[in-house]
């Protein structure tokens, strides 16, 4: 080699604009057949399913609002939301965000993209924005399709809330849209986890399935009788917290906590994914994920975030234990009963009464005298009493309550038969579904007992 002198130094080439990079990422995403299939599934599937199920005699009563699917077109979309939060949204997120980085590893296109864009930061931003855009378009199809399907099949009728109060169609529409909006926060968190997995695992399919696996694990955790502060510190809490939008007053605390926690998870996972991505050495074509570093980059921060979240919620909210206790159930059941009794009164063409006139109260007991009256379970037995309109006598009815750890419960009427013991009531125009026979309710897990 001879000694050399080089030419005059030149300025570095400018990176490609984010807008152009974003557009390229969109083109790449939309050219994938699985994304196109997802569009068809998200925009057509829910409507067809909701319309079909609404016409069946057997309704999905084990899902919240499922028992009302044949009564109002607004119930089907909420059943869809419950199902989506359990599995569909994480799965869709996994298929879009969980692959947006890893696909470049599989195709061997990273170096090409980097040379073209000349900025890893802009690539990260463009990929994140493009995958979010596609996700937003996909997710918009779920409520749109299910609402159209429900309204077309059943009609634009009032919706019975989770405390028995009747939402007019306009109010139901607002609440339904707000509930779907709540679900965006945990979806964003799963998208960020998808980016994290996509960056951390390289071409390994583990990155693709990470959001779905996480969703399954978190779903399992929500079923377990965990302390409420742990439950609320998980990113999928907002997938059930939206139930609070269907009570009057709304359980705003749970909704806010659920959304805020999910957003914090989203920010943390995005920051980790970004840091990992920026550290990657793209001259190393043998790179195949972080390997042993995955523990440091993913598991440790997850545990730290969960611990910090639990600590914050324990300090900032009055919640304790499971969040389910006798006082909350007494109040919730009495309120729901009062509202639904009025509905039954209307069905039977009896003179209207107000909840104040009824003065409904409830007294719940869990598992008899040997069991403490706290926590979820299907062994809650409640007696509801109310003042019969126009008389000094009081009525009473019995309910068996199956209370889920997430605060939702199913009240199953146990008599007397003419009040809540039979699934139909005889009205002047024929038999109709008895609103007092079985209904869904919800208690706010994040309030203290004294407030309940």
């Amino acid at each position: 080699m001879s000694a050399t002198a080089v030419t005059v130094s030149q300025p570095d080439a400018r990176p490609a604009p984010v807008r152009g990079t974003y557009r390229f990422e969109l083109v790449k995403l939309l050219s994938q057949w699985r994304i196109r299939l997802l569009f068809a599934a998200c925009w057509l599937g829910p409507g067809v399913l909701v319309a079909g199920v609404s016409q069946q005699s057997s309704l999905p009563a084990d899902t919240v609002f499922g028992r009302w699917m044949s009564q109002t077109g607004w119930a089907g979309t909420l059943v869809g939301l419950s199902f989506s939060g359990t599995f569909l949204l994480p799965l869709v997120t996994a298929l879009v965000a969980g692959d947006v980085f890893a696909v470049e590893d599989r195709l061997g296109t990273w170096r090409h993209l980097l040379v073209a864009v000349r900025s890893p930061r802009r690539i990260f931003v463009a990929k994140a924005l493009a995958s979010l855009s596609v996700l937003a378009l996909l997710l918009a199809g779920l409520p749109a399709s299910s609402i159209v399907g429900g309204l077309a099949a059943v009609g634009n009728r009032p919706l019975v809330g989770l405390d028995g109060h009747l939402l007019t169609p306009a109010h139901a529409a607002v609440a339904v849209l707000a509930a779907w909006a709540c679900a965006l926060a945990p979806t964003l968190a799963f998208a960020a986890v998808g980016w994290l997995g996509s960056v951390a695992f390289g071409r390994s399919p583990l990155g693709l399935v990470l959001p779905a696996l996480l969703a399954l694990a978190l779903q399992a955790a929500q079923i377990l009788p965990l302390p409420v502060v742990v439950r609320a510190a998980l990113p999928n809490y907002a997938f059930v917290a939206w139930h609070g939008l269907f009570t009057d007053p709304a359980q705003a605390g749970s909704v806010v906590v659920g959304v805020a926690v999910a957003l914090v998870w989203a920010l943390a996972a995005t920051a980790l994914a970004y840091a990992m991505f920026m550290r990657r050495d793209f001259t190393d074509v043998a790179y195949d994920g972080l390997g042993a570093g995955i523990f440091v980059w993913t598991v440790l921060p997850t545990v730290a975030l969960l611990v910090a979240g639990v600590g914050m919620l324990a300090a900032l909210t009055p919640a304790s234990g499971s969040g389910v206790d006798k006082a909350k159930l007494d109040a919730s059941l009495a309120t729901a009963y009062g509202h639904l009794y009025r509905m039954q009164t209307t069905q039977l063409h009896r003179p209207d009464v107000t909840e104040a006139q009824l003065q409904a109260t409830a007294s719940c007991d869990k598992g008899g005298s040997l069991v403490e009256d706290v926590g979820p379970g299907n062994d809650w037995r409640c007696v509801v009493t109310w003042h019969l309109p126009g008389t000094k006598a009081t009525g009473s009815a019995i309910y068996q309550l199956d209370v889920n750890p997430d605060g939702r419960y199913v009240a199953d009427g146990d008599g007397p038969q003419e009040v809540n013991g039979f699934f139909q009531v005889r009205t002047p125009v024929g038999n109709a579904p008895n609103p007092l026979w079985q209904f869904d309710g919800s208690v706010d897990l994040l309030t203290s007992t004294s407030k309940g």
Binding site: M1, V27, R118, V285
Partner: protein
């Protein structure tokens, strides 16, 4: 002193964890030069090409490209294009869509139709890359690199998968570029490609430069070449060869897969071979064929890198840490 250097590297080192991919590499590439990088698996060719594209920065040493020192990843002047580890193409997009996307990102100095014509892909411009052969992908990768009218073109095995016609086309493009002042750095395992294209080569072995200079000089790096001599009288020729100083007669099994009773296999330096030919002619033995069993360049390559595979001290597997990429085989099957 040379004022026209496009690449100037001094003592470049690059490590991936405990794997030393490059170890004190020097490289000079002049303007308008086609410079070949050659070496066995694990030599560090792809890593070096990646540094020239700005995909990373050296851990040590100095690297200047187009007169600018490389200090940060992707912080390079305009005018550098190419690919390492295969051309980066998106199979679900057409050839034209791939180029349009690139043009939008980096701007284009040359028209898309023009570069497609240059590499002979005009007829398939609107076909999805998914259906392209490896050779067509290589040519499309070259077209993508040409879009920005580069001053430095970095190509990792551009002749991979090309048929003879495709090879000629790529050679024509590259020599044409060099003639207009573009510098080309390319790696290849095919010595005939390097011989046809490159004026200079750098031979890497286990991350170190074992030769750098004009390709003609590489051929003289070994004085022991194997030749096959086909003659009219093999018995007489064998006797004469045994008497020729500096020559050794080889058995067929040493170098040939198929025994050839009419051929004589000898090993020795060129002067000894000249002496043998003179003696054969003098003895009235007709020489019907004289050819190297292994091309001189390849022989030099083997001589200079002999033992380097075994001495892949940093990579016990002997594989190139930056070469073995199972994902590359999947390109044709991916939907993206």
């Amino acid at each position: 002193m040379r004022e026209d250097l496009v690449v100037r590297a001094r003592g470049i080192t690059k490590c991936f964890g405990e794997v030393v991919a490059l170890d004190g590499v020097d490289l000079d590439v002049a303007q308008g030069q086609v410079h070949g990088l050659v070496g066995p698996n694990g030599a560090g060719k792809t890593t070096l090409l990646g540094l020239l594209l700005g995909l990373g920065v050296p851990d040590g040493g100095e690297l200047e490209i187009l007169g600018s020192p490389v200090r940060r990843t992707l912080a390079l002047p305009d005018g550098i294009a190419g690919f390492v580890d295969g051309p980066g193409l998106y199979p679900a997009l057409t050839a034209r869509q791939n180029l349009v996307a690139l043009e939008r990102l980096r701007g284009g100095g040359v028209g898309i139709d023009e570069v497609l014509a240059q590499v002979g892909l005009t007829d398939v411009a609107d076909d999805r890359v998914r259906g392209f052969s490896l050779g067509m992908r290589q040519r499309l990768g070259l077209a993508a690199a040409l879009l920005t009218r580069p001053r430095l073109l970095v190509l990792d095995e551009p002749a991979n998968g090309l048929d003879p016609a495709g090879t000629r086309q790529v050679h024509r493009v590259l020599t044409g570029l060099a003639a207009t002042g573009t510098s080309v750095v390319l790696s290849s395992h095919r010595m005939d490609d390097l011989a046809a294209l490159c004026s200079d080569v750098t031979l890497l072995a286990a991350g170190r430069v074992v030769f750098s200079g004009p390709i003609g000089k590489l051929a003289t790096q070994t004085d022991q070449l194997d030749y096959r001599v086909r003659v009219s009288d093999p018995t007489a020729a064998r006797r004469i060869a045994e008497d020729t100083p500096g020559l050794r007669i080889l058995t067929d099994d040493d170098v040939l897969r198929r025994p050839d009773v009419e051929a004589l296999l000898v090993r020795g330096p060129e002067p000894a071979l000249d002496d043998l030919i003179a003696r054969l002619v003098g003895a009235g033995v007709a020489v019907r064929e004289l050819a190297p069993v292994i091309a001189p360049l390849e022989a030099a390559f083997l001589a200079l890198t002999r033992g380097s595979d075994a001495s892949s001290r940093d990579d016990p597997s002997g594989d190139d840490p930056s070469r073995e990429d199972p994902g590359r085989d999947e390109q044709g099957e991916e939907e993206h």
